[in-house]
């Protein structure tokens, strides 16, 4: 019983297109961990039968919208959930085609781990590189390369090794330290949940075991203290007359009562009096906990401010260099002003300079054609109406990310990672 309450949470993303076996792999993980319910399976079987298929098409489980099921493609990000006694998993399942780069980036933005699928018959192809490059851009700490369809190449070790060497050659250009390779057959279940009897030469772990045991404790920044204030809690009732708490979610570091802190951007200094939650005060708090912080002094603090340790402060910048993914079908207008959101603060911004476009298949930097459209990734310089309190994205995914919002349509038009 208690084991259910002591699980960790792992978020991973997959990207793939129709033929690479992604749906089969997810179906296999859900199936073999008993996460598919009988009525869901019956519904999939009925739908598959209606479409004239001999076997249950497990992709029907992940494709949620009518259009997706009719066209047999994943358009959007779909979230799937399963659990083992050790961990609860959230899968962000995204389409893999180049015209869905923005969906892949969305799915990757919160992931601890990315699964990249390679068809053993075809080896490293353009799509493999794209998925790995996106994982690297979004700073996903762990990459698992599943070399799938091993059953179709006679489960040969030489083929696995050749693909592994090719991928390693390419991935040396990427910014990912933890890369693992697993030979699998999603169709037959080899090395997915259960060890393969066909590949005794493989001494590594199965996919599920790897997912259950990846070390994710250090995926958050526990060094640089950052507390973006969401809102101020003032009960205005008799017992809490002078209560003034700063509510927020810790973005980095470890906060403790007694710590000297600086409020940014005002620069006022104070000490942490207590860290409160509904369940009582805490002796320390770290990312990604939601808490309420009390200070010993009554300094003015409001939404958008950040509490930091006095000797370790973020950059204060109006000119911000980012890697940007354009998400909107309307191209950016050079003169347009956008709303920029960064942690809990907001300002206006213009795209001041486009430095280059990045080819997400090859990492090639294009400086000739700087026209940006939907799904393009580009290095740009933003100019904001007020300074923002930023860290590099590779140091902190929360204080290092921004989104741009169109002022008239209110659409989220761009996502950016601060360099």
């Amino acid at each position: 019983m208690n084991t259910y309450l002591e699980m960790e949470l792992l978020r991973f993303t997959t990207a793939g297109s129709v033929d690479d076996g992604k749906s089969t792999l997810i179906g296999r993980l859900l199936f073999d961990t008993k996460s598919i319910f009988e009525d869901q399976l019956n519904q999939v079987e009925r739908s598959s039968h209606r479409k004239g298929l001999a076997q249950a098409d497990l992709s029907l489980l992940t494709d949620g919208l009518k259009d997706e099921r009719e066209q047999g493609i994943t358009i959007d990000v779909a979230y799937r959930y399963f659990a083992t006694p050790k961990r609860k998993f959230i899968i962000a399942d995204t389409p893999g085609h180049i015209q869905y780069t923005r969906n892949m980036i969305t799915g990757a933005s919160t992931a601890n781990c990315a699964l990249v699928l390679i068809d053993a018959r075809h080896g490293v192809v353009e799509q493999t590189c794209r998925h790995a490059i996106i994982a690297s851009l979004l700073q996903i700490p762990h990459l698992i390369v599943c070399i799938n369809k091993m059953d179709l190449v006679g489960y040969q070790e030489t083929i696995f090794q050749k693909i592994k060497i090719n991928f390693e050659h390419f991935s040396s250009k990427l910014d990912i330290t933890d890369i693992r390779f697993i030979p699998i057959s999603a169709l037959n279940g080899d090395n997915v949940v259960n060890r393969s009897e066909e590949m005794s030469w493989y001494e590594g772990s199965t996919l599920l075991y790897t997912l259950e045991n990846l070390h994710i404790g250090s995926d958050y920044n526990h060094i640089d203290c950052r507390f973006p204030v969401q809102t101020v809690i003032r009960p205005k009732t008799a017992p809490y007359h002078d209560f003034r708490g700063y509510a927020g979610r810790i973005a980095g570091g470890v906060f403790k009562p007694g710590d000297e802190i600086t409020v940014l951007p005002s620069g006022f200094t104070s000490k942490i009096k207590s860290i409160e939650t509904f369940n009582g005060p805490l002796s320390e708090a770290f990312a990604p906990m939601s808490v309420t912080i009390h200070l010993t002094d009554d300094v003015g603090v409001s939404r958008g401010d950040m509490l930091v340790r006095s000797h370790n402060q973020p950059d204060l910048n109006q000119d911000i260099e980012i890697m940007m993914c354009w998400l909107d079908n309307k191209a950016p207008h050079p003169k347009s002003t956008y709303i920029i959101k960064h942690t809990t603060s907001e300002a206006k911004a213009i795209i001041k300079k486009i430095r280059y476009k990045l080819d997400v298949n090859t990492l090639h930097r294009n400086v000739e054609n700087l026209n940006i459209g939907m799904n393009d990734v580009a290095r740009v310089q933003l100019r904001t109406t007020k300074p923002l309190l930023t860290d590099a994205y590779r140091k902190n995914r929360t204080t290092g990310s921004i989104i741009l919002i169109d002022e008239s349509t209110h659409e989220t038009v761009a996502a950016g990672m601060i360099i």
Binding site: E8, L65, Y79, Y81
Partner: protein, 301 residues
């Protein structure tokens, strides 16, 4: 050296509290859609924690079909009194009386779909710009596509193919006058997480969720409770069964499961072993493969 890891429930709780505080910070007039079911009870509990020691800064809105379990109504009034929050009730009966909604006819008639008009009218009347709901992505395939902050146009409609991308923990609640958002803090929770959390936090829930003796009939593979709103065939004879409900909707469409789970611990074990989804007993979802998607597009919960 401490171990800076959170359990999955702590991480889910923290995420939900963050979302609820964003709602408070980004909107002028939010509310919590409260059905008296376990998910909206958990959302309300999280709101209590998010703003503690202040009171929940949102009213609870109940769209009342008139076909309630009496236990749910008692529970609702108790929670409103305990939390000292404002309760706003939208009555489906009033929408019917005014001619805005039309009662369904026939044996399987229900007021489930009629809730949409009453909900949209209530949102309009009180000018809510954000309605926090307890829907989860694991419940149903159309809900798996929902954003945390889900935009609704001035007609209250959902456009699933044209949703705003949501990256990291950044939520864009910008909207025009007359539009609103549905916000789902429990998006990443599963049925199992909800029950584990109710157990861990010792959250009060209606007695209907625990195994109890009740007069029921067998219809559409489920045990349907006897009430004044149910129409019996000549072949249907009520019998006494020990059942519990996995979800709570209207009394006319909510089927029960045979069960001996009369404690939270037993419920968690039962859910862990369940081979059917929790909505399998809900007649409203059985109407067609896309019934949830179709209802949601029009403005349903």
């Amino acid at each position: 050296m401490s171990n800076y890891n959170l359990t999955h429930l702590d991480e889910l709780e923290s995420e939900s509290i963050f979302i609820l505080r964003e709602v408070f910070a980004q909107f002028e007039n939010p509310c919590i859609l409260f059905s008296g079911g376990k998910d909206s009870i958990v959302v309300t509990h999280l709101a209590k924690k998010a703003f503690y020691p202040a009171k929940i800064p949102f009213p609870l809105v109940h769209i009342d079909t008139g076909h309630n379990f009496p236990e749910t109504m008692v529970f609702r009034d108790q929670i409103v009194a305990d939390l000292e929050v404002r309760l706003i009730v939208g009555l489906v009966q009033e929408s019917i009386n005014s001619g805005r909604s039309k009662e369904e006819r026939g044996k399987t008639a229900s007021r489930n779909a009629l809730q949409t008009n009453t909900l949209l009218d209530t949102i309009d009347l009180h000018q809510f710009d954000a309605c926090v709901g307890g829907a989860r992505r694991d419940e149903e395939k159309a809900r798996a596509k929902e954003r945390f902050f889900s935009h609704r146009d001035e007609f209250g409609q959902w456009d699933p193919k044209n949703q705003r991308p949501e990256l990291w923990n950044m939520f864009n609640g910008k909207h025009d006058q007359g539009e609103h958002f549905r916000v789902f803090p429990l998006s990443n929770w599963t049925e199992m997480d909800i029950w584990q959390y109710i157990l861990a936090e010792n959250i009060q829930i209606p007695s209907l969720y625990f195994a109890h003796l009740r007069k029921v009939i067998r219809r559409n593979d489920t045990w349907l409770p006897i009430s004044e709103h149910i129409h019996l065939n000549e072949t249907e004879t009520p019998i006494q069964k020990k059942i519990r409900f996995r979800t709570l909707g209207d009394i006319t469409i909510t089927g029960g499961d045979e069960s001996d789970a009369d404690t939270l611990e037993k419920i968690v074990d039962e859910v862990a072993a369940a081979r059917q989804t929790e909505r399998g007993n809900r007649a409203d979802d059985k109407r067609s493969e896309t019934s949830m998607e179709d209802r949601k597009k029009q403005g349903y919960f």
